[in-house]
Subunit: 379 residues, 2 copies
């Protein structure tokens, strides 16, 4: 490997065999790992971009023993970079593009996952060992996971949340009870079957994790099902790119105002993309979709046709994984991606679940911290 510097010092190039990878002077300087730039303990950057001269350029660069030494002018500051870190953070490569691409940490699924549902024993998760690491990996990959063998006691769902994050309290409480009610404020609390949906799209930010925990289950019916919204959206895109585009380009509106003092509204697309086209979210909920007013008149018929077709795909049994929660069993879903539904249940016997919300950044943080521990152990 050798290094060359552009004539004006604006960037350097690492050459290895026939590969050349460029790094800008300003990027290198801003990401310098020296203790004046980055706090040794917590890794936070100690300087702002205003502290780096606007005419920063590379005055010298050399490779020594697995590291790259760079001298920045006009600061006349020499910084050492690990070549491994530079390779991991290389940005001089074609970007993923197109609409709807997914992170490599995500895998889509359909009904074939029925025989391979991510599942773990409550007692094994509590030990936070290999079973826990494996379950967390699967839940982030597939967007849902099941837990078996938990305690049958009110509030046990909080022990599930404690595994990876924190409860997101809402106007429904820190948790909510899911039983048949005589005068429900929300259809979820009746015995009706519900179309697969994501929860609370009328919140912004939407709760990104839901936990449902079963405490009693003697009523007939009431099976739970989950559907991968990302898989459904990809199927829609494959069938008809126009349908995908119209749902991604225009904001739907959602509303919930079923209680005094509550008037929750949001304005977000059913298919949410990052600016570079990454598929990052799905919102789908017939109950709380309010009148769409931000779709141009000449796109409204297309938007409704796309919404209808997405619903048909979501309803297709080939997309769904079904299971019945028994007392002491729970499931966790990524509410920005995986839709869940409940089949109708009868009034005889009882069915009692407790639900709560949490956020997925805690889940990803737990996964990534475990991955780093694993890498350190392997090194």
């Amino acid at each position: 490997m050798h290094v060359t510097i552009a004539t004006d010092g604006a960037y350097l190039t690492l050459h290895q065999n026939d590969r050349a990878t460029r790094y800008h002077a300003i990027w290198l300087r801003d990401n310098s790992p020296d203790p004046e730039t980055r706090a040794a303990g917590n890794g936070q950057r100690l300087i702002a971009l205003r502290d780096i001269p606007v005419d920063t350029h590379i005055a010298a660069a050399s490779i020594n023993d697995g590291t790259l030494q760079v001298t920045f002018a006009p600061e006349n500051k020499t910084v050492t970079f690990q070549l491994g870190w530079l390779a991991e953070h290389a940005y001089d490569a074609p970007k993923r593009n197109g609409q709807g691409w997914l992170s490599e940490n995500v895998a889509t699924w359909d009904a074939n996952l029925q025989t391979d549902v991510p599942v773990a024993q409550f007692s094994a998760l509590a030990q936070r060992g290999a079973d826990f690491a494996n379950w967390i990996e699967q839940v982030t990959r597939y967007g849902f996971g099941k837990i078996e063998g938990g305690p049958v006691e009110s509030g046990a769902l909080f022990k599930v949340v404690d595994l990876f994050g924190f409860v997101r309290e809402t106007n429904y409480g820190r948790h909510f009870e899911v039983r048949t009610e005589v005068n429900p404020t929300n259809l979820a609390f009746t015995g009706l079957g519900l179309q697969a949906h994501t929860d609370n799209p009328y919140r912004d930010p939407v709760p990104s994790i839901q936990v449902l925990y079963c405490l009693e289950s003697s009523a007939a019916g009431g099976e739970n099902m989950v559907v991968d919204g990302f898989a459904c959206v990809h199927r829609l895109q494959l069938e008809n790119p126009e349908y995908f585009n119209v749902l991604a380009r225009h904001c739907a509106q959602f509303e919930y105002a079923g209680e005094d003092g509550v008037c929750l509204t949001s304005r977000r697309p059913m298919i949410e993309l990052a600016p570079d086209g990454e598929l990052i979210g799905v919102r789908f909920n017939n109950r709380s979709l309010s009148a769409a007013t931000d779709i141009p008149f000449d796109q409204m018929d297309l938007w409704y046709a796309a919404y209808r077709r997405l619903g048909e795909i979501i309803d297709d049994p080939e997309m769904e994984v079904t299971f019945r929660l028994e007392p002491g069993e729970a499931f966790v879903v990524d509410n920005t991606r995986v839709l869940h539904a409940r089949k109708a249940y009868s009034g005889t016997g009882t069915r009692w679940l407790q639900g709560c919300y949490a956020d997925k950044d805690g889940l990803r943080s737990t996964r990534d911290a475990l991955r780093r521990l694993g890498q350190e152990a392997a090194e």
Copy 2:
């Protein structure tokens, strides 16, 4: 006013004077207010789009006494719409377009707001009357507000959150203490001055509200300042649309891994737009910005130039509002929009604040519920 129906029944047109407003059959049917379509109590939709025939069209329509009666085929179902509701939800109009537009509920500001900071007395807010409604309106409009005259007791900040929402607990706890620490895990807990920033951009979803509550303040310095990120972004766009675009079109990356078991990362643009260009968020935090790897090589210099210029605008005293929190005073900021900063404070004397996070959907919900109450009282 009179109504006409398109030949194929796909839409109808309301004619008033020289204005014509069209409504599609499928939109009208999906948004029908009749009790079989919408639950009378909670307003949730009782049917899914799959329950509405795909060949739905308008068979008849007439206007009677402030209402529009529409008969839908093939269901042969007649529904009554209030003309006022239809006017409010008209979508047959040019859409706001361009990049960076703002909701009419938002007003940008700069240092001139110094003499007109939204402020209310703690005791007045607790009564939830006109002062409360006015303060909530201002906080949603300007993205921040101050509270004075609150109790000087640990945990009082939770009473502020109770006014409009719920605490978002994080790995920093339900709340965090802001005092000088000898071995801080986060630079916010030192006496250093901090550049204006939004908090926790490494979370996804980011906490959308922050509350900071002062309990002791005898140290010199430590003034708080706030800057309107939306105003800064608009100024950047006016100066250089390319700068605005490059920050909106590419994802930055943020990271915090300063504690065992924590590895929070996010991938979001510094300037966040809705698909139709609405400016909906700003993320700006030099401490937790990690190495940008999703920006194409040929855009990286431009991206850094834009990031630098945005920082200069944020640092411009003409953009900032400054105040000193005394014991029993607090401020609330919209963390998706308003940056906050702290000037350096000295080690003599004490400075003790408590902070916590919450979410802005609760703030908007409270405002909108109060608005509806006001409208009902006026009717």
